[in-house]
């Protein structure tokens, strides 16, 4: 193979590190090599916690308990009355959700209504699956009744709050009326008339609000009654049975 001109090659070869550059670079390289060789991994100041066997055992048991409880709670979500996990659903999972999500009386009423709907759905599912024997029927009836009473009570609390709002809204008007009484009779009559109109307006808005929550309550209760009737769980039915039983007895 031919070669490029010698001069060309020599010129290119003349490009090199100077002696001082070579020595400095060698020293720097050696220092970095040794620095890298002696380098230890950065140790976290908290590492001793993780190396302690007691702490490790604690973490491990906590993880086991958390994963166990969360998986049990998850499995319990679909449980129905009579299932082993049903008490976990009603006595653990639901109270926890209540504790976390509910903060005002209105939210409480809404939550209890939702739980009531849940109880009714459970009863329907049991009925569809033909799993409702006499004992389970009694159990379901009790829990539906209890939940229904709870929901009614919470809704009543919200309504009472509305009444308080009404009183507070009405009170300043009454006070201002008594102040007006010290002014001229004509002005007094005018003021009282205005106050009456304002009072009427406030009362109307409160009534509207109360009407809304009443309607919500009635809707749930209607559903409640319908489901109970459908499932043959209602008081009336029970009473009717008792009545016909006693009539029969009397007939005999």
């Amino acid at each position: 193979m031919e070669h490029p001109p010698h001069k060309f090659i020599e010129e290119l070869r003349s490009v090199a590190l100077t002696e001082s550059e070579r020595v400095a670079l060698r020293a720097s390289l050696l220092a970095k090599m040794r620095e890298g060789g002696a380098q230890r991994p950065v140790v976290s100041p908290w590492s001793h916690l993780f190396f302690s066997k007691r702490v490790q055992a604690g973490f491990l048991s906590m993880i086991i308990v958390m994963s166990y409880t969360s998986s049990v709670a998850f499995a319990a979500e679909g449980a129905l009355p009579g299932d082993i996990l049903y008490p976990i659903k009603t006595k653990v999972a639901e109270p926890v959700v209540r504790l976390v999500t509910v903060s005002t009386p209105a939210e409480e009423a809404k939550f209890e209504t939702k739980i009531l709907e849940r109880r009714l759905e459970e009863a329907e599912t049991l009925e569809q699956d033909k799993k409702l024997d006499q004992e389970l029927k009694r159990e379901v009836r009790e829990s539906v009744r209890a939940q229904s009473a709870k929901a009614k009570m919470k809704i009543k609390v919200v309504e009472d709050d509305d009444d308080e709002t009404f009183v507070i809204a009405a009170f300043p008007a009454a006070t201002s009326t008594s102040i007006v009484a010290t002014t001229t009779p004509k002005a007094k009559i005018e003021k009282v008339r205005e106050e009456k109109v304002r009072e009427k307006g406030t009362a109307q808005s409160v009534t509207k609000k109360r009407g809304k929550s009443e309607r919500a309550l009635n809707a749930v209760l209607e559903k409640h009654e319908r489901t109970l009737e459908k499932l043959d769980l209602g008081d009336e039915h029970e009473d009717r049975n008792e009545e016909s039983g006693s009539r029969g007895n009397r007939g005999r």
Partner: protein, 164 residues
Amino acid sequence: MKDNSLEMELLRAYDAHADAIFRHCYFKTGERELAQDMTQDVFLKAWSYMQQKQQILNMRAFLYRLADNLVIDWYRKRKATSLDALVDDGFEPVSAESRAEERAEASLALAKLRELGEDDQKLITWRFVEDLSPKEIAEIVDQSENVVSVRLHRALKKLKSLLQ
């Protein structure tokens, strides 16, 4: 003890090939300080490779390969960063003084070498300036010796026409 022998091996490689690696980086980048940094990085990478108990069969070819990869990375980064962005970040283009220095250093030969394409420039330098055999070059560029020989022949022809 083993670390010491590895250290000695690398320092021997440095003494033998530092200039060649520096030249390779300098021909590509045209910046003396950058070429020095790259030279150091090449040997540090080789050191880290040796420490992982990896066997290096041909140290010279291995060092050139590392250097070539570093240069390619540098090209990519340089392309990705526009000059405007660099100036915004406070980068000052090379001063007139350092340009003059570079001009003095960049001989006619270097200017002609840079007129060759990327690959031809590498082949000519490795074969005729660094005295690598076609077999060693083939190892670096991961091609057959025959292909390297053919490409070398063409590159040399091109260089000759440039030098006329």
